[in-house]
Amino acid sequence: MARKLNLRIWRGNRESGSLQNISVDANEGEVVLDVIHRVQAEQINDLAVRWNCKAGKCGSCSMEINGKPRLACMTQVSSFPEDEEITITPLRAFPVIKDLVTDVSFNYKKAMEIPSFQPPEGMKPGEPRMQQVDVERSQEFRKCIECFLCQNTCHVIRDHEENKESFAGPRFFIRIAELDMHPLDMLRNRKKKAQEEHGLGMCNITKCCTEVCPEHIRITDNAIIPMKERVVDEKYDPLRWLGSKIRKREGIL
């Protein structure tokens, strides 16, 4: 049942590194993470890899397998042809720490920049009443396991380090969408901020985030594009702009 697997695993740190050829046994039904663990136990005791639940629920074991951003615990060995070499590297959009582990602090920094949920003033715990249809859109985004594969694959920052300053990334666009669609959220300037501070306009909707999402969240169609449309409502639609001016003037009168 066991088969020999030829791996190329990137080993190194901030200064240098290279792909190393490793031959290891793999059993039927194993995933790439199982094989990495075998390498770790039998050949390279100090091979650095991040993982937690090994069930596709925590989003820790993000890496690139044959060049594709994936969760190692969700990538079956049998999905590769018998004789194919499997290349495993760390995420390539973030600074590397060691071997397959990268510094993903960028994402936590961005999380800090998104204004938090703001419930209606005076509302007491237990009082909220929300309909299922009204929470479903936001619930889709809350499925996110924060594996950061979408952040890693997004060319806006993957290919342009300098954009990291002004771009929050797909994971946080779904966070913004989640809050903007939340039936109880009272913060009304999320759209404007999304465009002006979080770099929504940088996204050119090439959908790689959606392609890599292990939770199958439709990031582009259900979060980014709806947010772009909401931004247009607020900022770029002359008719709506005129409407709001008139309403304002009536207010003065």
């Binding site: 740190n13 059993n27 039927e28 039904g29 194993e30 995933v31 993470l33 199982d34 770790q40 136990a41 005791n45 100090d46 091979l47 650095a48 890899v49 991040r50 993982w51 937690n52 639940c53 090994k54 069930a55 596709g56 629920k57 925590c58 989003g59 820790s60 615990c73 969700m74 079956q76 049998s78 720490i97 060691k98 071997d99 582990v101 993903v104 999380a111 800090m112 204004p115 938090s116 949920f117 419930p119 509302m123 715990p125 237990g126 909220p128 009443r129 929300m130 309909q131 299922q132 929470v135 936001s138 619930q139 809350r142 499925k143 996110c144 396991i145 924060e146 809050l179 939340h182 959220d185």
Partner: protein, 631 residues
């Protein structure tokens, strides 16, 4: 490689929370809201805690679906589930406060599934009399951890506005391992640890430490727990002079996947057997017929023909023996494997594909089919699963004061969540763990706040620091050559085979000897490579913790001569009312774990009165019944 203390990274906080799962984060929020400065330590990245794995829901008697539900009913269910070994006060606090903890999550942005009236929906779950579990599909744990994580961020944003620095009051230290709780003059003074990223050491000086480190599953070979479940908090508390209570109680599920490794430990729900899954050994025998206890003879079929007919005609046939209670199924699987009729991976076959068509399986067991197909390429509509007992949850844990979550014997130490003991008695009800985290996480935070009103910080002495430094340096300086991975695997074999789901004195005695042997060999664990993100190095500390857990569990298990909840003794198959009155208390004397008995607090009269006396008779002695609860 040793750090001299001049260059040592030092932090001073009011409260140090070790563990960033539901309980730890809830404790941190509580302490921060009382104005304290809090450090949160996570062993992995922020938001990856094992809490995300909880699927079913969070039990709280909000009465949204059935108005008859209230805290008293929930309390009764919890005590029943724990077979009356629970600390009544913990079960009482939990039942009373759980609804508020859920409602508060909603104010922090959580989005639970809704009822038609727009309230939080609640679902039925085993052992709960009414629909009680607040849920979000099957990812309630993720919702809880994310909400707490975002609550921390919200507080940090507020601090940034008010104090200019987001981390001025709460700072999260991600990927940091604590190796020791430091005490001075008998009180907690801080903790010592190292960054996993580079091995650099860190000293935390804090007069209050909250342990919220979760479970111990990785002590066992087959477990649903993630790598973090290495019992760190249990072990840290023991080493700091605290006690563990009833470590023999572990929740095993009789049918977890044992192979392939990609799904090892993942639970196969009972409904697979309910839908017609049959258990066979490697000889192809449907072995459950051999294991029907006499008391069940009239309810369970003793031949295949009748068992098969039951699925079509339940009135005129007896049930198939695969549907016997959990412990009976576990015992049968255990016996088959030990008799050499199990698979090479220590399991038996569970096959649902013979009886049902692929379409029916996909329709009735969609998530089971999908999960195994996606994670392991196992198609349960075509092939059998390899299953065996899997370790899921530890009921035993750090002995604490119910109201303040303060660890007994260690001033300044607090514990909440899975690493604390007492709340669940001998068996935990599904759904109670998520609310346990919130209720006692908050109480631990409050406990720390209260404690700090009457005490002040003690500086950590140089002597304590240098001891801690030596401990961390040890794995690199030793030369014994033991591989930590292989030693861990050996320990897991011992616990799995000898301290597993079905226990006997003979095997437990053997386990205790073998664990002592590993304790000797752990002195020789040697680590290769550098300190930079080195998993072998990390494992060498986890291993030490897991050994203490295994020892405490085995020793408690051999002493408790009865079967109750998550502790099944083949040589003592019944519950004993005398043992119900006793907790097994583990402590550590520096070289080994010592287990003593302690009397369980009696149910007070008002809580005693919530039960039907006929029910209590099954658990309690005649004297207890005559007394009718304490005053």
């Amino acid at each position: 490689m040793t750090n001299n203390s001049a260059a040592l990274e030092r932090h001073k906080y009011d409260v140090l929370v070790i563990g960033a799962g539901g309980a730890g984060l809830r404790a941190a929020v509580e302490a921060r809201e009382a104005g304290l400065r809090v450090a949160i330590i996570c062993k992995s990245l922020f938001g990856k805690a094992h809490t995300v794995m909880a699927e079913g829901g969070a039990a709280a008697s909000m009465g949204n679906v059935n108005e008859k539900d209230n805290w008293m009913v929930h309390f009764r269910d919890t005590m029943r589930g724990g077979k009356f070994l629970n600390h009544y006060r913990m079960a009482e606090l939990h039942a009373k406060e759980a609804p508020d903890r859920i409602w508060e999550l909603e104010m922090w942005g959580a989005l639970f599934d809704r009822t038609k009236e727009g309230k939080i929906s609640q679902r039925n779950f085993g052992g709960h009399e009414y629909p009680r579990l607040a849920h979000v599909g099957d990812r309630t744990g993720l919702e809880l951890i994310r909400t707490m994580q975002q609550r921390i961020v919200a507080l940090q944003q507020k601090d940034k506005q008010e104090h200019g620095d987001a981390e001025s009051f709460i700072k999260v230290f991600a990927e940091l391992t604590i190796t020791e709780i430091l005490k001075e003059n008998g009180k907690v003074a801080g903790a010592y640890g190292y960054w996993r990223e580079n091995g650099n050491e860190v000293l935390f000086e804090a007069p209050a430490v909250v342990l919220a480190t979760g479970g111990v599953g990785k002590t066992f070979k087959i477990t649903s727990n993630s790598w973090e479940g290495t019992g760190d908090g249990h072990a840290l508390a023991l080493k700091a002079g605290g006690n563990l209570v009833d470590m023999e109680f572990l929740q095993f599920h009789p049918t977890g996947m044992v192979w392939p490794p990609s799904v090892r430990g993942i639970l196969v729900t009972e409904s697979v057997r309910g839908e017609g899954g049959i258990l066979t050994n490697t000889l192809g025998e449907r072995f459950m017929f051999k294991y029907i206890p006499d008391v069940f003879k009239d309810k369970y079929a003793d031949n295949e023909a009748e068992a098969d007919r039951w699925y079509l005609d339940q009135d005129n046939n007896r049930r198939p023996p695969e549907l016997l209670p959990r412990d009976e199924v576990a015992r049968a699987i255990n016996s088959e494997v030990k008799a050499g009729r199990g698979t090479e991976h220590g399991g038996v076959f569970l096959d649902v594909s013979k009886r049902l068509s692929a379409e029916v399986i996909k329709k009735r067991l969609p998530s089971m089919w999908h999960q195994f197909y996606e994670l392991a390429g196992v198609d349960i509509t075509k092939e059998a699963m390899e299953v065996g007992p899997t370790c899921h949850y530890v009921m035993g844990g750090i002995e604490v004061d119910p109201d303040t979550a303060a660890a007994v014997n260690v001033p300044g130490l607090f514990a909440a969540g899975e690493c604390a003991g007492g709340m669940h008695g001998s068996n935990r009800l599904g759904g109670n763990s998520l609310t346990d985290l919130l209720v006692f996480g908050r109480r631990a935070g409050m406990g720390a706040v209260q404690y700090l009103k009457g005490t002040s910080a003690t500086p950590v002495s140089e002597a304590s620091i240098s001891k801690a430094v030596q401990k961390i340096a040890a794995p690199f300086t030793r030369t014994g050559g033991e591989n930590p991975y292989l030693l861990h695997q050996e320990l897991q074999e011992i616990t799995h085979n000898l301290v597993g789901i079905i226990r006997t004195k003979k095997e437990l005695d053997e386990a205790i000897l073998k664990i002592a042997d590993i304790r000797m060999r752990i002195q020789n664990v040697t680590v290769s490579g550098s300190r930079e993100f080195n998993p072998g190095f990390h494992l060498s500390f986890d291993l030490d913790n897991m050994l203490l857990i295994a020892e405490s569990t085995a020793k408690s298990a051999v002493i408790r001569e009865e079967s109750r909840g998550g502790h099944t003794r083949d040589d003592f198959p019944n519950m004993s009312p005398v043992w119900r009155q006793k907790n097994n208390i583990s402590s550590f004397n520096g070289t080994e774990v010592v287990v003593k008995q302690q009397t369980l607090p009696e149910l007070p009269k008002d809580l005693f009165g919530l039960f039907d006396p006929h029910e209590l008779e099954k658990y309690m002695t005649q004297e207890e019944m005559a007394k009718g609860g304490s005053n």
